[in-house]
């Protein structure tokens, strides 16, 4: 899988209350959730995000609650991929389970800023800036998780295999 999109840059410890505040959790429709994505920290996000855009964040992205509404909202908003230096554990599972690919990269978050166009190869973990030679790498995804991503999410995976 290859991705290309504009960067939305975030810092450390972006928690799920920032991704989608609890007051918007009284619905579970993903498009409605997408409309409230990052409202408190980046009120312009939902309106200006374009399909295919990529989130680039520092450490511990997605910490806090277990709400799957967070990756769902991000995905429904049009984000194709999230790259961070590290992810909080539950967010990591949730993202794979719902088919939102994520990558951990040590060096890429330092280098790019808002609006940069980057391309990413999920299979190799290579990250590249548009018109740039320099490449950045991400941690390879464990094989079991790759299978889940390939299937399109945990539901599809179980459907395919008939079991977990």
């Amino acid at each position: 899988m290859k991705f290309k999109g504009n960067v939305w840059k975030f810092g450390d410890h972006v928690d799920t209350d920032l991704i989608i505040p609890a007051r918007f959790l009284n619905v579970s429709d993903k498009d409605e959730l997408a409309g409230s994505c990052f409202v408190d920290v980046r009120p312009d996000f939902a309106e200006h995000v374009s399909p295919g855009d990529i989130i680039l964040a520092e450490t511990n992205f997605g910490c806090g609650s277990s709400r799957e509404h967070a990756p769902l909202a991000i995905k429904a908003a049009g984000i194709s991929l999230v790259i961070a230096r590290s992810f909080a554990r539950i967010f990591y599972r949730n993202a794979f389970n719902i088919g939102l690919p994520i990558l951990e990269s040590e060096d890429a978050p330092d280098f790019f800023s808002d609006g940069d166009m980057i391309s990413v190869d999920l299979a190799t973990g290579q990250i590249k800036g548009e018109g740039m030679d320099r490449q950045f790498s991400a941690k390879p995804i464990p094989p079991f998780m790759q299978e889940i991503v390939r299937a399109g999410g945990l539901v599809e995976y179980i459907r395919e295999k008939g079991a977990l």
Partner: protein, 421 residues
Amino acid sequence: MTAPMTITEKILAAHAGQDSVAPGDLIRVDVDLALANDITAPLAIRVFEQLGPREVFDKERIALVPDHFVPNKDIQSAQQAKVMAEFARRHGIKHYFELGESGIEHVILPEKGLVVPGDLIVGADSHTCTYGAVGAFSTGAGSTDLGAIMATGKTWLKVPAAIKVVYEGQLLPWVGGKDLILFTIGQLGVDGANYKSIEFSGEVIRDISMDNRFTMANMAVEAGAKNGIFEPDEITRKYLEKRADREGNYWQSDPDAHYEKTIRIRVDDLEPQVAFPHSPANVRPLSDVGHIGLDQAFIGSCTNGRIEDLRAAAMILRGQTVAKEMRLIVIPGSPDVYKQALKEGIIEDMLDAGAVIGPPCCGPCLGGHMGILAEGEKAIATTNRNFIGRMGHPKSEVYLANPAIAAASALLGRIGSPEEL
């Protein structure tokens, strides 16, 4: 002979059908109890249904607890709660708690004896780690995980590396589980235990009550941990004796089990701790707080909504009056906690002091309802998170503390100690 293991590794191995496991192993495990609430269940149910028509894996091993937005705060919440209630009825879910018997999931489940030592519990709520207090492996997951578990009774896990925290010495007055865990999170940072297991031990832990253990295990996730766990002992046995039908497995860590890190904390001088906005790791000892004027105090939540918490608060509130222009909201964590508090005269003392008492639920903890903060307002709360906007307006502030400090602060109108009264 298998390699020495921690209690967490032993529980995981037993549920994976293996003799042993090691950190980093990806394993498929049987789940003893699956949990969801009114926010996470509707998504999990959708996933369950996408998996095709089927029965749940076990009607007696799923707990569905409406607690976040109940009593339903608006039409949308009511719709969500209805999805869960109908699913429970359709599938004959034994442990569905309707309003009246319901309270906060993490208060109710141990109280009803549904979690026992040695269990493997997965809940679609990050504070599912609370049940580590009884010596279970218990962790939060997402709704898709939960939907899949409801269908298959299984899930996948990566065996976490372990951090051991050893508490030694003698606790000062007004210092309890909340302060130990806040201090520990301050030491570790919000991702200091990411993907890891925290094992609480040491002489302080051996004597500490179940309610304090629940408070500590509850906040393990605030350091990013996958689970927080206590080795079950006589205190655990006593707590569960009259509650649980099952005995459970009283696993203990091997003396030579491997820990990635061991942290020793001397508690003799440990003051009550306060976590400043907007992170549970942003802790200071009470004496370093300075003048923080308050608009609201909230005593409740799955962290500190149990009977001992209310007792501690009542001891301070009894015969006193909440400061002018200050709101004190108290929410007992369950109907049983509420009844016990009534019996002990705690509720009356609180009402006399000027508190408002809410029905058992999460209330303002996650900014749902029953005590939302306005722009610029400051609150002290016995909850577990003080992220931006957690309890209301993005420009409001939440300070986390134990129930005695929250009660004293309600009387003072600023963050302060019971000793100042």
